[in-house]
Symmetry: C2
DNA sequence: ATAGATATTATGTCTATACATAATGAGGTT
DNA sequence: AACCTCATTATGTATAGACATAATATCTAT
């Protein structure tokens, strides 16, 4: 009985966040404005200060406001916008877009680390590495050429590994716990095996993701993920 | 008096976060492991559940664990790693690296929106746009070639604006409140004015950031930020 | 055995209160 | 004016308790 007409649910931090956000995006609280204090907002919204706090903290995370003790919360003049890109496994990425994924090993070799790699990974003169190249296809078409180096001194198991069926990324995920990572994005000119495998003309622009991974201070692997022509990395917010 | 030797400060969510994190990164809690419940951890760490909750929420944010009601918190098998790149104003970026920034307007024009842009920005047949191109220099050397289109129908003030001294980005920040954004990263071949201004050979790989901005559902601006050879966007975590 | 109802569990969130801490500003002293 | 001290203020964080909600496990009737 007595069906509640008004749905008396409490104010959530999402409500507060949305309310504050819309006041910022519609210009009511323009750049430089100092927002009311958490206490005032809590009273205005009829909720606890902790609720307002969480809402404001998340808006700060987004880069829209700056918070400082005693001074309060001010709307940023220049949005230090941060773009967040998800970097999933190639296979997952392709499957998520409804494509069929295929993996093919191109080559493997064990050799002393070349100079440029020693610098990048901080390896010693005697360190040996495993070099793996492989292709990732989406719906039969070339999608990504993977060019990976794995530190065999830090990870001797890699010498036993075969990358016939399973890509080195998957193998590494299983072999090494979570680690520190450096990611670089760049445009380079196509050359060498890259052209053959991805169908780039020599010198054509290639979108490359470079990633170096450390575990407990030791470099584990360095990879260059070269993408087929037309690849874009996008995000929206 | 009585200098406290033990500094009996309470366990913070940072402590808890660090403790959990290190157990994950050192492999104690490997991929697939289900962590103890918040209650159990709270007891173990001698703190309130809310403290553990915040720590775990942040670790989830980082993409290391997955949380589900009733099931609990499990360490992710494949790290859906998300790379976060800060995208500051060019001037700020250059200044932050200790360089000297210089801006130079290249051209401005008002014209009907070309077809490709109408599609991208969702403009009508009659809509006019302002096209601005400009250069950004770091220590005298070309750094970025900006190629921007601004919706003059949605933002008629742009017709009066001069971009002699101030870049269009700065002008837009002042003119438009916070907005919805789509960012795309790609590698393209250098052509046209780009080569002249950035010193790229025709066909050379260019790292381009494309950004489209909406405000209240209306497309405001579309910009292509073309970078000088050798540019890398990097992040580490 | 199978389907549906019910209990259980872990996370999700809100509240009220308390104290910590950084930053600012006011007063007073030199 | 320059410098110190101290009060004030807004945010930062911890806590105990409560209820909400999603997902799973279990129990029951068919």
């Amino acid at each position: 009985m007595t069906p509640d007409v008004t749905a008396p649910s409490r104010t959530t931090y999402r409500d507060v966040r949305a309310a504050i956000l819309s006041r910022i995006t519609d210009g009511t609280w323009g750049a430089g404005t100092i927002l009311p204090s958490e206490m005032e907002l809590a009273e205005a919204f009829g909720c606890a200060r902790a609720t307002v706090n969480r809402a404001m903290r998340e808006i700060e995370e987004m880069g829209l406001v700056e918070r400082k003790r005693k001074s309060g919360t001010r709307v940023r003049a220049a949005p230090v916008r941060q773009a967040r890109f998800e970097i999933p496994l190639v296979g997952d990425e392709i499957a998520a877009n409804g494509g069929t994924y295929r993996y093919a090993l191109v080559s493997t070799a064990t050799l002393p680390a070349p100079d440029w790699l020693r610098g990048r990974m901080g390896l010693g003169a005697g360190d040996r590495v495993v070099h793996v190249t492989a292709m990732h296809y989406a719906d039969g078409a070339p999608h990504q050429f993977e060019d990976r180096w794995i530190n065999a001194t830090a990870l001797p198991e890699v010498l036993e590994a075969s990358f016939d069926k399973q890509g080195p990324t998957e193998w590494l995920i299983a072999a090494v716990p979570y680690s520190e990572v450096e990611i670089g994005l760049m445009a380079v000119a196509a050359e060498g095996p890259l052209c053959d495998h991805l169908g780039h003309a020599p010198g054509a622009p290639v979108f490359r993701v470079e990633r170096t991974t450390w575990w407990q201070g030791q470099a584990i692997t360095h990879v260059r993920l070269n993408h087929a022509p037309g690849y874009r990395m996008t995000t929206r917010y």
